[in-house]
């Protein structure tokens, strides 16, 4: 899967499942402060990522993901590993 395709897929589920607006999805946006993704939402992100990309995320992996760009990078790296 191309990087741009992954980013687009991530954006799609953030819009569809997390009801975020497209214009909120700026790479520098903070997941917690700007996008208001809280600790319970991370639990649902694990489910959605498994559904969309086929790999499982460990809760602790989110510790280093602060911005949306970090999140894209993490998914891209994990998708390439699989």
């Amino acid at each position: 899967m191309e990087n741009q395709e992954i980013i687009s897929k991530v954006n799609d589920f953030l819009i569809d499942e997390f009801e975020l607006d497209e214009d909120q999805l700026i790479p520098t946006a903070s997941l917690k402060e700007t996008l208001e993704i809280d600790s319970l939402d991370y639990v649902d992100l694990v489910v959605i990522i498994e559904k969309n990309f086929g790999f499982k995320v460990k809760g602790e992996d989110f510790a280093n993901i602060k911005s949306l760009q970090d999140f894209y990078d993490y998914i891209i790296n994990r998708a390439q590993e699989n």
């Binding site: 319970l40 939402d41 489910v47 498994e50 499982k56 460990k58």
Partner: protein, 407 residues
Amino acid sequence: MNRVVITGMGIYSTIGKNIEEVNNSLYAGKSGIGFDQLRKELGFRSGLTGILERPNLKGELKRRQRVGMAEEGEYAYVATVEALKQAKIEEDFLDKNDVGILYGNDSTARSVVESYDILREKKDTSLVGSGAIFQSMNSTITMNLSTIFKLKGINLTVSAACASGSHSIGMGYHFIKSGLQNIIICGGGQEINHHSMGSFDGLNAFSVREDQPQKASRPFDRDRDGLVPSGGGATVILESYESAIKRGAPIIAEVVGYGFSSNGDHISVPNVVGPAKSLQMALNDAQLKAAQIDYINAHATATPVGDLNEAQAISKIFGLITPLVSSTKSMTGHEMWMGGASEIIYSVLMMQNSYVAPNINYENPDEYSAKLNIATETIKNHNIDIFLSNSFGFGGTNSSLIVKKIK
């Protein structure tokens, strides 16, 4: 001791999705019962059920507020929004005052089944999602509504089988009467999905009159063959009289009596003594004589033994001349955990609009129902100053409430 009044009502049921629709259905004797083919495919003995679609709350509630809400929580939410609106209670008031919630609920099966299905398939709890735990606890309604409405008073689920909704109002009545709270959101919610009904269906307690769904729920009728499971959400705002006057809230009616008892007998078969005791206790609490009751909303679910024993209990307390009696379950089916609360609303609507809703499908009496003054059709222009509503449940839990018109 405080006087306890009703200042708001809201409902989402199989006979209407708001107070106005429900009032019209009650007056018209409209049934909310239908047939669900999927239940037959799943091996149910009866495919009969109340028919109710889930409300679409997307856009009204945030995702986080919705994901932990089970079906019965959605029904209860819609009912509570309507009740708070009628009671003129807004967000700012809820934020600054200790409003409580005592809500009846006694199951939340679907989320339990679905989350365990995921676990069995995926073998990983991290793939169950964040909402399942909040949906799958019995207190799902109170935990969700207290969060959404930012409630700061008593926060408790009342689980007492098919008397849950009634006991929630009884408990709320006592909390307010004693001065512990000024306003409490009471009510009952009932899931309607097949996940929750399979085990009950297995007890052979449901009607199998599948060729005539709307004729299936026949409380007190000689040829009744069981109840029809149903559900929804019903909310009653209880408030101290002083608080209601101070706020300028509409005072709809006054709760004047609450009786309760436990049969101390069989787990599923009701008796006569326990319900009679609950009825008498409610009358004593209200300081009323039986003859002063203008209408009885019976528990009568249309099971052969249950209706037989309730008819005897009513006769025992009310004697040879009973007030008008009807079981609105003839139209709604058995709303179980919700029923005790919804039936207070149904009866208040009759009181407000001076009629008695019919006990539809009552065609032939049996030995004991013949002794009751059952409303076979809508009784128009019937003044109700005081009514009594019965609710009984598995384990022999009984609850009787008496509500009076405010003049």
